[in-house]
Amino acid sequence: MIKKTISMTFMYLVLIFVVVVSLFPLVWVVMSSFKTNADILSSPFSLPTSFDFEPYLQVLSTNNFLTFAINSFTIASIATVGSLLMYSMGAYVIAKYDFWGRNIFFIIFAMTLLVPGHTKTQPIFSLVANLGLYDTRQGLILVYLSAGLAMCMFLMRSSFTAIPKEITEAATIDGAGFIRIFAQLHLPLVKSGLATAGILLFLGNWNEYYFAMLLTASARNRTLPYALAFFNETFAYNYTRMFAALTLVIIPGILIYIITQEQVKMSLTAGSVKG
C-alpha cells in the first residue's frame, strides 16, 4: 500500500513537471504581454490586472510585423502545397506502379533522412544565390520545397499502398487513363495522409529560422521567426510589446496543433520512427 502511494506520487510529480515545463513559459509570455513595462520588471508573477489589447494593435500596426506575417504565411503555404503535389506524385508511382529501380529510388529518397541538418548549408546557399534568388521569397520557397522529401515519401507511399488494387483494375477496365485514375480515384482516397503530411510540412515551414536567416536580408522578405532576432532593436526595450509580438508568433502553431492534435501526434512519430 505504501509502495503504491509512493509510486503514484512519483508518477504524478513527473506529470506535473512535464506540464509545468511545457506550458508555464508560454503562460508567462502571454501574461506578461498584458502587463505594463513596470509591472513586468517589478512583479513578474502577478496576474495582469486587465486585458488590454493595445500592445497587440501597436505591434500589428508598426514595424512591418504584418509584412512578416504575410510573408511567413504565403511562403509556408506555397511550399506546403508544392511539396505535397510533387512528392505525392513521386510516392504514387513508387507505390502503385512497377518499373525498373522502383525500390532503389525509394531507398535513396529515404536515405536523405540520414544527412544531418545544416551540413548542406553552403551548396544550398550558393544554389539560391547563383539562381539570382538571394533575398527573395521565391528562393525561400524553393528551399522549403526540398525539406519534406523523405517524410512525404514515407507517409504518402504507405497511404497509396493501402488502397486495394482491385479499385485500380476496375477503373482500368472502364478505360480511365493514368491521370484520371490518379486525380479522381486515388488522390481522394489518401486525404488523411495528405492532411497529415500537409500539417507537418506547414508547421516546419512556418517555424523555419535557419535558411530564412541565411537567404534573406531585407525586411521586405523577412519571415516571422527570423524577425524575432531583431526584436530587441525593433521594440526598443518595450517589454510589453516584445511579449505581445512573441505571443503573436507562437499562437498560429499552437492553434494548428490544437485543431489537428491527432494528426500532429501521428505524423511526429511517423516521421521519426521510420528515420
Partner: protein, 296 residues
C-alpha cells in the same frame, strides 16, 4: 505477370513524369550538395562550381583543428550529447512508461508536452532568453524570493550560459516519449501475463521485458537527440551567440560564420565533420542497441 507491372510498362512515360519533380529536388538539394560539400572541403572555394575550387589538401581541416572555437565546439557537443543520453532520453523514457500506465490526466500531460515542439525553435529560444534575463526573467525572480541580492546574466556569464542553453532542450523529450510509447503499446499482453504467472514483479517486467523490447525506439531517440545536438543552432544563436568568449560555440555557428566570411571551403570542412559525427552516432547506436536484429 500481375496487373501492377503491366500497368507500369504501359504507363512508363507517365511514371517517369511523375517521378521527375522528386528526382530533380533530390539531385539539386541532396545528391549534388553532398558531393559539393565533400569535394570543396579540401579546397578554397567561393561557390561558383567545382571547377573554380582551388585544391588545398587537408588545409581547411588543419585550420579547424587549430581553432580554439572548434575545439570548444567539439567538447560542447560531446558534453551535450552525454547530457542528451543521460538526461533527455531517459527523461523521455520515464515519461513514456508513466503514460503507458494510463493514470488519469496522462492525456492532458501528453498534449501539453507536445506544445514546445510545434513552436518555432527560434521563438522558443527567445522565450528562454526572457526567462533567463537578469532583470525581468522568470528564473532570477524565483531565485530572488530566497536570495534577494541574486544577480546573474545567465546567457552572458560562464559557465551559466552552457547550462542555460542545456535547459532550453533537455526536458523537452516528447518525441522520445512518443516513439517509446508506440513500442510499449505494441508489446503483446500475453507476454506480460506469462511473466506475471511466472512470478515476475513489476520492476522485473520493466527491466527484463519492457525495456529490452523498446530498444529500437530508445535507440532511435538517442540517434535523434544526439544528431540534433550536433546541428543545434537557434538555441545558441538567439541567446548567447556562442559566448561568453567561445564558451557555448557549436559547429553550426562556425559553419554560418565561415559562410558569411565567404570561406566556403572552411564551412564545408565543418559540415564534413558534422556529417561524420552524425553517421558515427548512427552506426554506434545501431550496434549498441542491436537495432538491426528483430525485436520479437
Amino acid at each position: 505477370m500481375d496487373t501492377k507491372s503491366k500497368l507500369g510498362r504501359r504507363n512508363l512515360p507517365w511514371v517517369f513524369i511523375f517521378l521527375l519533380p522528386t528526382l530533380v529536388m533530390f539531385a539539386m538539394f541532396y545528391l549534388w550538395p553532398i558531393i559539393e560539400v565533400f569535394y570543396t572541403s579540401f579546397t578554397r572555394y567561393r561557390g561558383f562550381g567545382l571547377h573554380t575550387a582551388e585544391w588545398l589538401g587537408f588545409a581547411n581541416f588543419t585550420r579547424l583543428f587549430n581553432m580554439q572555437s572548434f575545439l570548444i565546439s567539439i567538447t560542447n557537443i560531446a558534453l551535450w550529447s552525454v547530457l542528451a543520453i543521460v538526461l533527455h532520453v531517459s527523461f523521455g523514457v520515464v515519461v513514456a512508461f508513466i503514460f503507458y500506465r494510463g493514470i488519469p490526466g496522462w492525456k492532458f500531460a501528453r498534449a501539453a508536452f507536445m506544445v514546445p515542439v510545434v513552436i518555432s525553435s527560434a521563438a522558443w529560444a527567445m522565450i528562454y532568453r526572457f526567462i533567463f534575463n537578469n532583470d525581468f526573467g522568470l528564473l532570477n525572480n524565483i531565485i530572488r524570493i530566497f536570495n534577494p541580492d541574486f544577480q546573474l546574466n545567465w546567457f552572458f556569464s560562464s559557465p551559466a550560459a552552457f547550462w542555460a542553453i542545456t535547459f532550453t532542450w533537455v526536458f523537452y523529450a516528447v518525441i522520445v516519449t512518443m516513439v517509446v510509447l508506440g513500442d510499449l503499446m505494441a508489446i503483446p499482453s500475453d507476454l506480460l501475463e506469462a511473466a506475471s504467472i511466472d512470478g515476475a514483479s513489476s520492476w522485473q517486467k520493466t527491466w527484463f521485458i519492457k525495456l529490452p523490447l523498446c530498444r529500437f525506439s530508445i535507440g532511435t531517440g538517442v540517434i535523434m537527440s544526439v544528431t540534433s545536438r550536433i546541428s543545434m543552432y537557434e538555441a545558441i544563436a538567439l541567446t548567447s551567440r556562442g559566448g561568453p568568449g567561445d564558451d557555448t560555440m557549436s559547429l553550426s555557428l562556425i559553419l554560418v560564420r565561415a559562410i558569411s566570411d565567404n570561406n566556403f571551403g572552411l564551412a564545408n570542412a565543418t559540415a564534413v565533420i558534422m556529417f561524420i559525427m552524425g553517421i558515427l552516432t548512427m552506426v554506434i547506436v545501431n550496434k549498441l542497441f542491436r537495432m538491426n536484429d528483430s525485436v520479437y
